[in-house]
């Protein structure tokens, strides 16, 4: 059984403000994004019968439903980090297709910037000290994602000859998209020299290899095929989907240069029955430049190890023949912590033709890939319009 063309995204929007929003809490952002996405879909809150969300709070789904005043018959707070919201689309598609619900609301809200100010610095505190990573990883000096992803990138550079310049190409091209997007957080010009002469965060990562830390919320609405045909806007069909999880911590990756996108991507492309050459626009999680690079390889857009050369010469920038991360990405648009919601929203906007200056001409097919954890869990979607 396939989920191809069984459901569509009919609403997609963000909080009114993104970036630095110190006067909002995460759950306020969930609600505002939900209101905006439902308005975009032309669907009343009373029609929502399924709610999907992800948050560190293990009962976030139940809490959110109470807060929103929704008493759904289906709730799912599957938490796979930044890929959660992409994976929720597949879960919603399965639930709708099984007849368990009809209007699925997927929401996100985080104050990655302002919340950090409120909470103070982390360290190893707050983790269960008996968990494997608290015994066998953190005491050796690894902490936040930059300190971990960089070690995967290092192995890739060693095995395949990937260079700092290859990574910088992605940062520069992504910034060019952000310059076309009035809502992007970072819009100043960025050159290869700027990236390569910037300070190290964790070698081999310069600061411009790393995503932003912002406040933002987003939401999307997913419905079945019958309902989608009456939608207020052009429905964005789920043509293929896949999810995969291969490990939790980097130490336990079977191969440091491979991600689960090789599995989720294969399934999504096979379900959709399209080839890589058919894809008009690519939206992949760019927590780091390297995340985007390895994901493009793992999705099969190029041969393994050739992501650096493949994405070079500003090929992914506006006007290039491989438009990627067209909102400006987690690198330059926004990145509140779990960025997956925003690659989804941008894919919907591109396929609807709503992107103004940054619109990719005649975008009909999009490939979306969310990555969560430490390259741990991915969700891939092939989205398209009629």
């Amino acid at each position: 059984m396939s989920l191809k063309h069984k459901v569509a995204i009919v609403g997609a929007d963000e909080t009114d403000r993104i970036g630095i929003v110190p006067d909002m809490t995460p759950i306020m952002m969930h609600a505002e994004a939900a209101r905006n996405a439902l308005r975009d879909a032309g669907i009343d809150k009373s029609e929502v019968d399924a709610v999907f969300t992800a948050d560190p709070n293990p009962m976030s789904g139940v809490q959110l439903c109470e807060y929103l005043g929704i008493q759904p018959t289906y709730v799912d707070n599957t938490m796979t980090g930044g890929s959660s919201f992409v994976i929720h689309v597949e879960h919603a598609a399965a639930a709708i297709n099984a007849g368990l619900c009809s209007v699925a609301l997927i929401t996100h809200g985080e104050t990655g910037f302002s919340g950090r100010r409120r909470r103070g610095a982390g360290g190893a505190r707050g983790f269960d000290p008996s968990m494997p990573a608290a015994q066998f990883e953190m005491p050796f000096g690894v902490g936040g994602p930059p300190s971990i992803y960089c070690m995967a990138a290092m192995r890739h550079m060693h095995e395949y000859g990937t260079t700092h310049e290859h990574l910088a190409e992605i940062a520069v091209a992504t910034r060019k998209w952000a310059q076309l997007n009035p809502r992007a957080f970072m819009r100043d010009p960025l050159t290869m020299d700027d990236v390569l002469s910037s300070r190290w965060i964790a070698y081999p990562f310069h600061i411009y290899d790393c995503c932003l830390v912002t406040d933002a919320g987003g939401a999307i609405v997913v419905v079945g095929a019958d309902r989608a045909r009456d939608a207020a806007k052009k429905p964005v069909w789920v043509l293929g989907s896949g999810e995969a999880t291969t490990h939790m911590s980097l130490l336990n990756m079977p191969d440091l240069t491979q991600t689960p996108a090789r599995y989720s991507g294969k399934r999504a492309f096979e379900m959709a029955g399209v080839s890589h050459n058919d894809i008009d626009v690519v939206e992949v999680y760019d927590s780091f430049t390297y995340t985007a690079l390895v994901t493009i390889e793992e999705l099969g857009f190029c041969q393994k190890g050739e992501g650096g050369p493949f994405l070079s010469n500003q090929r992914t920038a506006p006007g290039g023949d491989f438009p990627m991360n067209t909102n400006g990405g987690g690198l330059s648009y926004t990145h509140p912590g779990m960025y997956g919601m925003f690659i989804l929203i941008e894919a919907v906007r591109q396929l609807r033709g709503e992107c103004g200056e940054r619109q990719v001409p005649n975008a009909r097919l999009a490939c979306v890939n969310g990555t969560g954890g430490t390259l741990s869990a991915t969700g891939t979607l092939i989205l398209g319009t009629d």
Binding site: G123, A124, F136, F140, G141, M151, M154, H158
Partner: protein, 139 residues
């Protein structure tokens, strides 16, 4: 010696043998008799074949540098940048996360796949940390 400020591991029931051996500066890892292979991190069962016939065996503490990074920000409490985090590929098969010591934090001298050896650091009466350093370079 200044008081140790870094996070100190808290042994769990299934990792206790690892930390007990570490106190004696022995690298003891769980071994699956069905697979005839080591695994890590410690569990009461083998994550490959799900056999529960597990032994603890001593390893030699030698391996190669699978990957590393030079941390320029204090990613964890008690660490002063720059410092080198690493994943070591042990000769016996498993990989360990560690801190690479006795080396300049310089990519010109640290290379993936270079040989490394264990260098125990006593933290307190209970815990010794399996750090690593370039093999043969220092005493």
């Amino acid at each position: 010696m200044a008081e140790y400020q870094k996070p100190i591991p808290v042994p769990s029931p299934e990792s206790e043998p690892f930390w007990q051996a570490a106190r004696r500066h022995e690298l003891s890892l769980p071994y699956c008799t069905a697979c005839a292979a080591f695994f890590f991190y410690p569990r009461r069962f083998c994550p490959r074949c799900f056999s529960w016939d597990i032994e603890w065996r001593t390893c030699g503490g030698k391996g190669t540098l699978y990957t590393y990074a030079i941390q320029y920000r204090p990613q964890m409490i008690g660490f002063t940048p720059p410092y080198v985090t690493a994943i070591v590929q042990l000769e016996e098969g498993p990989r360990l996360m560690t801190t690479l010591i006795d080396v300049e934090p310089d990519p010109a001298v640290i290379k993936c796949d270079m040989p490394v050896e264990i260098a125990w650091q006593d933290v307190n009466e209970e815990i010794a940390m399996p750090l690593f350093r370039p093999a043969g370079g220092h005493t």
